[in-house]
């Protein structure tokens, strides 16, 4: 047995103090990005303009610095985005010189490959354009910003999640994931979903955004907006319909906790205008981000699991 090779004991102690929870999570995510870059042919990063995918992109840029990002980004556009989110997406793509692919639900509706649902909610319609984009571009690894703390079936998700040729997730046939040795082998036509933020919580995300001073879509910060109330959520009027006759449009100070389909994602009443305000608000919240503002997860006890089995993230 030998002693560690170091300059001084104190240098080690100093570096240990810097290596806190966020630094450990950052290092783990960077390791995952580099494993995928080393082993896959055509990876792509899912980018919705939301906070998780913005953090994901920030970590990816760090993983390959000072080289440019070796991946393209893919946006599945439901056609129900808030304008601020699209503006942010294009600004980020421009700033980092990214290659952007867009899979548009609107196109599928226009040419009849998909039919609008009776409830007007488009999140479930994203699966087909996503799977087509993966197949058409022959993407073999698809990074997503999913976190295991979001939802019970997400808690069961591996960091490297094998999907069959139909993009399906089978929770009973997941590969064991041992140490930090990730197995990315897959047959032609199959692909792997990769979740570098698996071990992050919503609070970790916000602490990291504050610490790294990451630029986000403006809808995450409190602002005045005309909104109407539906199912206990504050909704923005838009092409997705609403307000209905019985729903009153009022101007409120709100912010969004998640970015999603405008027909089913609501804002919360908030005056939190800075990262520090938001950290305090999230820490004190008695509701999960999905429970507070995502109508689609309320459909059934297994709504997310069912969508993931169909190929959703």
């Amino acid at each position: 047995m030998s002693t560690p090779v170091t300059e001084t004991e104190s240098a080690i102690l100093a570096s240990l103090e810097d290596f806190d929870t966020l630094a450990a999570l950052e290092s783990e995510a960077i390791h995952i990005f580099r494993e995928v870059a080393g082993e896959f042919e055509r990876p792509v990063i899912l980018f919705s303009g939301g906070k998780d995918s913005t953090v994901l992109l920030h970590l990816a840029l760090k993983a390959f610095w000072p080289a440019p990002l070796p991946f393209a980004v893919l946006h599945v556009d439901t056609g129900h985005n808030l304008p601020e989110v699209l503006e942010f997406r294009d600004r980020v793509v421009e700033k980092y010189g990214l290659r952007l692919h867009v899979a548009a639900v609107e196109q599928y509706l226009a040419d009849g490959r998909l039919t609008e649902r009776a409830d007007g909610i488009r999140n479930p319609l994203q699966t087909v354009p996503l799977l087509d984009a993966i197949a058409d571009n022959r993407f073999d690894a698809v990074f997503g910003g999913g976190r295991r703390d979001e939802e019970r079936s997400r808690a069961k998700e591996r960091i490297f999640s094998l999907r069959d040729a139909f993009g399906r997730w089978d929770p009973k046939r997941q590969r064991p994931e041992l140490w930090n040795l990730y197995n990315g082998r897959h047959a032609p036509g199959e692909h792997v979903r990769v979740f570098p933020l698996s071990n992050w919580t919503e609070l970790d995300i916000w602490r990291y955004i504050a610490r790294e001073n990451i630029d986000l879509a403006t809808i995450y910060y409190a602002h005045e907006r005309p909104v109407y109330q539906r199912d206990g959520m504050w909704m923005t009027p838009g092409s997705w319909g609403g307000p209905r006759d019985d729903e009153e449009l009022v101007v409120k100070s709100v912010r969004y906790r998640t970015v999603g389909d405008g027909s089913t994602t609501g804002a919360i009443l908030s005056t939190a205008a800075t990262n520090e305000d938001i950290l305090a608000e999230v820490a004190a919240s008695r509701l999960t981000e999905r429970g507070a503002t995502r109508g689609d997860d309320r459909v059934s006890e297994a709504a997310m699991e069912d969508r993931k089995r169909e190929g959703y993230f």
């Binding site: 030998s2 610095w65 080289a67 808690a155 429970g291």
Partner: protein
């Protein structure tokens, strides 16, 4: 230092593991109002009068249908003192592979037993797996303590039996604790209970908050630098025309500017010119840290190579003995041609002889087995096409571990531990009995 503790749970079916995890989440206020509402609604639908906390964690349709946990799930909770990542693993024998997955990264495992049943075969199997995997610390949660008469006597008996078992398996007494709990009622989970006057130790959460966590959970022994090269960063941009950095995560030891290193398996020597990160240079990087190393010499290094300290560089191995936990549905037979993934290197491998199979019931070894079936643990000899730069698993969990992969289907078939890990556990058995 990192305030993150990675832990796992293990235990047999129906010992209340999901309820305990639900209770940990509930008592640390990691469950929010809408999740409680959902569980309360689901409990009422099932005709229950109080919320069933296990529904907080059993999230899959099949799990709710059968009332059991099928797959490892990851939970996050925090107290003012520490953040926890908990791998909640299933108890069924058929899902042992998930227990192995959850425990492979754990710094501590909570094993559950039902106070009415005590230490059973599955407890012994799980403890043996934890010993092989080198889990540094164990907590035995003696659950349903409210359901036994003479709780003091029952607890003392179970604790003594468990201490004897874990000592035989090689743990030091200070690394193992037993706590009497009732997950259903919350006794000794968040706070010490008045219902167990015979117990004067910490509550489960108090213990988890205060147990020392080694910043480097990879092993008890110090080795020099081990840095598997993941990716070579060569921007070839106007700004960085000549940049050549070796990206990776420090697997063991530490690296400092000016250190003498050797690149393996080639054996070329060089010196660390600097340690790069996008946030600036570091003087030193320790295990777990993802960095980019710049060497003073222009040497040929690619993914799969290891940069190691020149002082205690390991020997590249063409063949070695290893302990494997077989996770494949089809049995392992001698002569199998597989892929081996160690660090950032994947190479072809042939499993030569099956040396021993480990009987988890009496902790004895069966020599010269014909095959290893699903969940069997055994010792094998392995030959590899490209040399592997490994340490003994007992010296370092990261550089001593590998996967065996099916070259055709791509599935992970085995968790591998370099060296005579199995024999070490047996020696412990003999010494203690």
């Amino acid at each position: 230092m990192s305030d993150l503790l990675r832990l796992a749970t293990a235990g047999s079916v129906d010992d209340g593991k999901s309820t305990l995890v639900g209770r940990l989440l509930f008592d640390t206020k990691s469950v929010l109002a809408d999740q409680i509402d959902a569980v309360t609604r689901a409990s009422v639908d099932r005709g229950l009068s109080t919320p069933d906390l296990s529904l907080l964690v059993d999230g899959l349709r099949a799990e709710r249908e059968q009332g059991i946990t099928i797959d490892v799930a990851y939970r996050y909770f925090a107290t003012p003192r520490r953040t926890f990542v908990l791998a909640d693993t299933p108890g069924h024998v058929q899902y042992t592979r998930n227990t192995v997955s959850g425990a492979s990264t754990a710094q501590l495992v909570i094993l559950l037993v039902d106070a009415r049943k005590g230490v059973i075969e599955q407890t012994r199997r799980h403890a043996a797996v934890m010993a092989l995997l080198g889990v540094p610390r164990l907590v035995l949660a003696v659950n349903k303590i409210d359901l036994v008469d003479d709780a003091a006597g029952v607890f003392a008996e179970i604790a003594a039996e468990f201490t004897e078992l874990t000592t035989r398996l090689g743990w030091a007494p200070e690394d193992v604790v037993e706590i009497p709990v009732s997950a259903l009622h919350g006794d000794n989970v968040a706070s010490r209970s008045e219902n167990t006057p015979f117990y004067d130790g910490p509550s489960l959460i108090e213990y988890l908050e205060s147990v020392p966590v080694d910043a480097d959970s990879s092993g008890p022994h110090q080795v020099g630098l081990r840095f598997p090269v993941q990716y070579v960063i060569r921007p070839r941009t106007a700004e960085h025309p000549d940049y050549r950095g070796y990206a990776g995560q420090v697997a063991a030891g530490a690296v400092s500017k000016g250190d003498e290193v050797v690149v393996l398996p080639s054996g070329i020597r060089s010196t660390i010119e600097r340690i790069d990160t996008p946030d600036g240079e570091l003087a030193t990087a320790q295990p777990g840290r993802s960095v980019t190393l710049i060497l003073t010499d222009d040497v040929d290094i690619s993914r799969g190579d290891i940069i190691a300290s020149a002082i205690d560089a390991p020997e590249p191995l063409d063949s070695f003995d290893a302990t494997v936990c077989w996770l494949g549905d089809k049995p392992l037979r001698p002569g199998a041609r597989l892929l081996l993934k160690h660090g950032t290197r994947t190479t072809q491998a042939i499993v030569g002889a099956l040396l021993e199979r480990f009987d988890e019931q009496n902790l004895a070894a069966d020599p010269d087995p014909e095959s290893l079936a699903l969940n069997d643990i055994g010792r094998v000899s392995v030959r590899v096409a490209d040399p592997v730069v490994a340490d003994d698993y007992r010296v370092n969990r990261h550089t001593g571990s590998f996967l065996l992969i099916d070259p055709s289907g791509g599935n992970t078939l085995a968790a591998g531990l370099v060296g005579d890990v199995l024999t070490a556990v047996e020696v412990g058995t003999e010494a203690g009995s």
